[in-house]
């Protein structure tokens, strides 16, 4: 049996429990725990005048009711602003329970704890909150107008304003470059709000151990280590007395990286105060109105270019809607404004964004995290240039590509990790060649003409992107081989369906030369690994994958050292195959890793037959050396960290063929093709699955999903009946091809893959519809009725 598993489509080790109903998701835990429920604001903007709980006091099973006034110490302060930035001059965060003012529908005002959720909701329904309704600020341009304020102390509703400028050759500014260019275009683009909407909402379950004065919290989170630190800080507990576990998590896509959510500190606080187990499971409506949204932007673009379509200057002004609060800083518009450049070299670039408050749900990263908007901007620009010059759209892109021999390529900007935006590797011309072949780009005009002859409208579109993945600061891995020969791997970041238990086991099995069946992987459990950042930004494989590989290499080196002594061989002559350390070319001179693990830990007491071999009278030992040699530690284990100087840049290109119905304006994607380059693949089956899921979310964002707020700040479609997530019938068959340009930045040569699929879809679908219809598509998503309206106003 081979132990070379890196790169193989190994079946998922998560599946056996998940297909038999044995998964442990948040709400599957804590049978018998008290249930929390929340009274949430029904108004987008209002002052709380009075909270009257008297009506709820007789509810059977009621345990406690809390408002902001009940919260002690740090719990009563605003929630943390997680990612401060000098440009975020007016960052504001919510209180765990609203204090005086509510700023979006869904903001928690009162917390109720009762025997079960039904009863907790009964009590919520009987609590009366009197509000003085304030003028809500809804819509980006209304907010930027500043006539009414979301926060009284934030003038013009502007939370942040940031300009980044990269001068062109000879120090020419973007404005000068555009003005001096042979051709110029100016236009406006709009992208609407959507949201992650994982099938499992958020949830928190807390157990206070009064005897031990310690707290164990389970949260459906993308970062258990940081939730732990937040809880310890907010509750004033010593960090070692708090443990946080992310159990099986039913999807994240970004929303669960935000923390601490109000419930993540309120539920543990109540559990400790009441000395009872308390659990809160978010329901679907709560998720819509109190978790995060993303995407909403208005962009104003000025582009200057030459006869070949080369971009000489590009100026982009972005108005970004960050909702009522900014707990996650301005990461989303920073990513939009930097990743907008994609695979292109632009003569001179200036990007300016204003991030504004509205009385709507806060905006934090959703898979793609600002990139879909940036790519929409750049790819629409490329298509407009091609249309203006009458050139093929792929030709214009090719004319602007960074070439394979230009890496590392410095875009001259500061990326989301505060580091320079320097692309490490890529081959964009080859990716485009592959994509054109896959979709049949060159033959499409004939296909389109044939369809037209039958009275059908079809169109083709293309979109390219570069994705900075694997952002720092670090992740770690711990690997322990126990005396039964099992390999225990842990890493601090969490999993939400990415198959980490499988891919990290593949890496460990490959590095250590052991059968994968011997390897088990634990993620997101602070009891096993306390130092981590979290799972976001397509970073888990790059960060923890490399950290685990490095930890394995330490363990391997130690194993070879110990085995060499036992085998009286040179460690350099040793190999590990199927869990046996042996002399290369002489398999008979061997020792199992299990035995090496025994020997690594000098024992006084034997607890089984294997352990006897490591006890003090078991064999010859040097009298003048300590049993644990200097610089060594007992045990066959290793810990290491991977902390990259900067991100590694994956890339991809998508193409779609769509058909639009001449009468009904129905839009159907006939074909969808993807070329994807995430460096070396650990598990192609899993990478492919990640792309599929991303594309499906992209299709949702392009054609179906938007958050419909009315002028009062009410979210009109806060259910799966009205927020149209794609079913199987809405997602076309996805054709994929892979290009593997290894990253020179990390030991495994890998780049992230998690978010990629979603990034260019709106741009691609818009381009294809534009090609079919001959109408500029500058606003996404687009519904049949939107298209119908566009046709009428043409």
């Amino acid at each position: 049996m081979t132990t070379r598993l890196f790169g193989e489509p190994v079946r998922r080790r998560e599946d056996p429990r998940l297909i038999t109903g044995q998964g442990r998701y948040l709400d599957d835990l804590g049978a018998g725990a008290l249930a929390a429920a929340f009274v949430r604001s029904p108004h987008a903007h209002a002052r709380i005048l009075d909270v009257d709980v008297s009506g709820a006091l007789d509810v059977d099973g009621l345990v406690a009711i809390y408002t902001w006034e009940d919260l002690p110490g740090a719990l009563a302060e605003p929630l943390p602003l997680l990612i401060p930035h000098p440009a975020l001059t007016h960052g504001r965060t919510a209180y765990a329970l609203a204090r005086e003012v509510v700023r979006h529908v869904g903001e928690p005002v009162v917390m109720v704890v009762a025997r079960d959720r039904y009863l907790a909701e009964d009590a919520c329904a009987l609590i009366r909150v009197d509000y003085e309704i304030l003028k809500p600020v809804v819509g980006l341009e209304e907010a930027a107008g500043g006539a009414h304020l979301v926060h009284e102390d934030v003038p013009g509703n502007i939370g942040a304003h940031l300009v980044q400028e990269v001068p062109g050759p000879g120090g020419v500014t973007a404005r000068e470059a555009v003005d001096a260019a042979p051709h110029r275009l100016e236009f406006r683009l709009d992208v609407e709000r959507s949201a992650c909407t994982p099938l499992e909402g958020k949830g928190v379950y807390a157990r206070w151990d009064a005897d031990d004065e310690s707290l164990r919290v389970y949260s459906s989170t993308q970062t258990s280590t940081s939730v732990r630190m937040a809880i310890a800080a907010k509750l004033g507990l010593p960090l070692p007395k708090v443990e946080v576990v992310a159990p099986d998590v039913g999807g994240g896509f970004g929303v669960k990286i935000v923390h601490p959510w109000p419930e993540e500190i309120l539920v543990p606080w109540a559990a400790r105060l009441l000395n009872r187990e308390v659990k809160w499971t978010e329901d679907r409506r709560e998720h819509f109105v109190s978790s995060s949204h993303e995407r909403g932007q208005v962009q104003h673009v000025r582009a200057g270019f030459d006869d070949d379509g080369r971009l000489l200057g590009l100026e982009v002004e972005i108005l970004h809607d960050h909702g009522a609060y900014t707990p996650y800083g301005i990461i989303v518009p920073i990513i939009t404004s930097t990743q907008l450049l994609g695979p292109y070299r632009v003569g001179a670039y200036r990007v300016e964004f204003s991030s504004v408050y509205t009385n709507t749900v806060q905006v934090t990263p959703y898979r793609g995290a600002g990139r879909p908007q940036g790519v929409f901007c750049m790819e629409r620009t490329m298509d407009k240039i091609a249309a203006y010059l009458g050139r093929d759209r792929t030709e214009v892109r090719a004319a602007n590509f960074i070439q394979p021999d230009e890496f590392p390529y410095d875009q001259g900007l500061t990326f989301q990790d505060g580091r320079p935006l320097i692309y490490d590797s890529g081959d964009y011309p080859e990716a485009l060649r592959m994509l054109k072949e896959l979709i049949g780009w060159d033959a499409f005009p004939e296909e389109k003409a044939r369809a037209a002859a039958e009275g059908r409208r079809i169109g083709i579109g293309v979109g390219c992107y570069v994705e900075g993945t694997g952002v720092g600061p670090y992740e770690g891995g711990h690997v322990q081989i126990t005396s039964d020969g099992r390999v225990h791997v842990s890493t601090g970041l969490t999993s939400q369906g990415q198959g980490h238990e499988t891919v990290f086991a593949q890496i460990a099995a490959t590095e250590l030369g052991v059968p994968i069946e011997k390897v088990s992987v634990v993620t997101g459990d602070t009891r096993r690994f306390g130092y981590a950042v979290g799972t976001f930004a397509s970073r888990a494989a790059v960060m923890s994958g490399n950290a685990i590989a490095l930890a394995c290499r330490k363990v391997r080196e130690k194993a070879l050292r110990i085995a060499a002594e036992a085998l009286e061989a040179d460690p350099r002559d040793l190999e590990i195959t199927d869990g046996m350390v042996h002399v290369a070319g002489a398999p008979s001179a061997s020792i199992p890793l299990a035995t090496v693990a025994v020997l690594s830990n000098p024992l006084r007491y034997a607890f089984d037959e294997e352990a006897k071999r490591a006890t003090q009278f078991a064999g010859p030992a040097s009298d003048d050396r300590p049993p644990v040699a200097e610089g060594e530690e007992p045990g066959l284990e290793g810990r290491d960290y991977y902390s990259p100087v900067r991100s590694t840049f994956a890339a991809g290109m998508h193409a779609a063929i769509v058909e639009t119905d001449p009468d009904t304006a129905e839009i159907q994607i006939l074909r969808y093709a993807v070329v994807h380059d995430c460096g070396r693949l650990i598990n192609p089956m899993i990478v492919e699955g990640q792309i599929h899921g991303g594309v499906a979310q992209g299709v949702g964002g392009a054609l179906y999903e938007k958050m419909v707020y009315d002028e009062h700040g009410q979210l009109l479609n806060a259910s799966f009946m009205d927020f149209l997530m794609p079913y199987a019938t809405e997602v076309p068959r996805i054709e994929t091809a892979h290009l593997e340009t290894p990253s020179p930045l990390n030991p495994l040569g890998i780049k992230g893959a998690g978010e990629a699929g979603v990034i260019p879809v709106s741009a691609v679908v818009a381009a294809a519809i534009e090609d079919a219809e001959g109408i500029p598509i500058d606003r996404m998503p687009i519904s049949p009725s939107d298209l119908h309206t566009l046709r009428l106003t043409r």
Binding site: R11, R12, D60, D122, T197, E200, G251, D283, A696, A728
Partner: protein, 168 residues
């Protein structure tokens, strides 16, 4: 404000189970919290996502739209009951073989839906398979591999039936 409770007897995965529940107790909550069968998941609570799908007398139903008291005396199969004698069903095996699940939260609903579908239509066309799963939401997979798994499960089921008939 004490609620009236009702005694219900359900046959779940072949085992007779009893519970005392208020009239408003959803079948999904009864299965999960009264009977401890947490494999059935609740994704939307309004019957749209299909994650809570179970088989009621063999037919797929949304357990989040069903009151436990209304199914007193009936037979229910949940995801925990799809494997027989420790052996995964063809649908379960096909889902893992085809990588038809990622986070796994929606998966129990798909497994129950597809199990009933393939029982009634053992050799579906592409179109029929698509329609069969088109009432369940998945946010992770883009459905590509779920559709593959439906066809793969049909193949496996056919092979298994052949083998059983051959052996009989």
């Amino acid at each position: 404000m004490n609620e009236t409770h009702h005694h219900v007897t359900l046959t779940v995965n072949g085992v007779v189970r009893e519970a005392t529940v208020p009239g408003r107790r959803l079948l999904s909550d009864c299965l999960r919290h009264d009977l401890g069968l947490t494999g059935t998941h609740v994704g939307c609570e309004h019957g749209v996502c299909g994650a809570c799908t179970v088989l009621l007398d063999g037919e797929p139903v949304r357990s989040c739209l069903t009151f436990a008291v209304t199914v007193d005396g009936q037979e229910i199969t949940t995801v925990e009951g799809l494997a027989r004698d420790g052996a995964l069903s063809p649908v379960q095996r096909a889902f893992t073989e085809c990588h038809a699940l990622q986070c796994g939260f929606c998966t129990p609903g798909f497994l129950c839906t597809v199990t009933a579908f393939l029982r009634d239509n053992p050799a579906p066309t592409e179109e029929e398979a698509l329609e069969a799963v088109a009432g369940n939401l998945c946010r992770c997979t883009g459905y590509q591999n779920i559709l593959k798994a439906v066809h793969r499960a049909a193949q496996m089921q056919a092979t298994q039936i052949q083998a059983e008939e051959g052996g009989a």
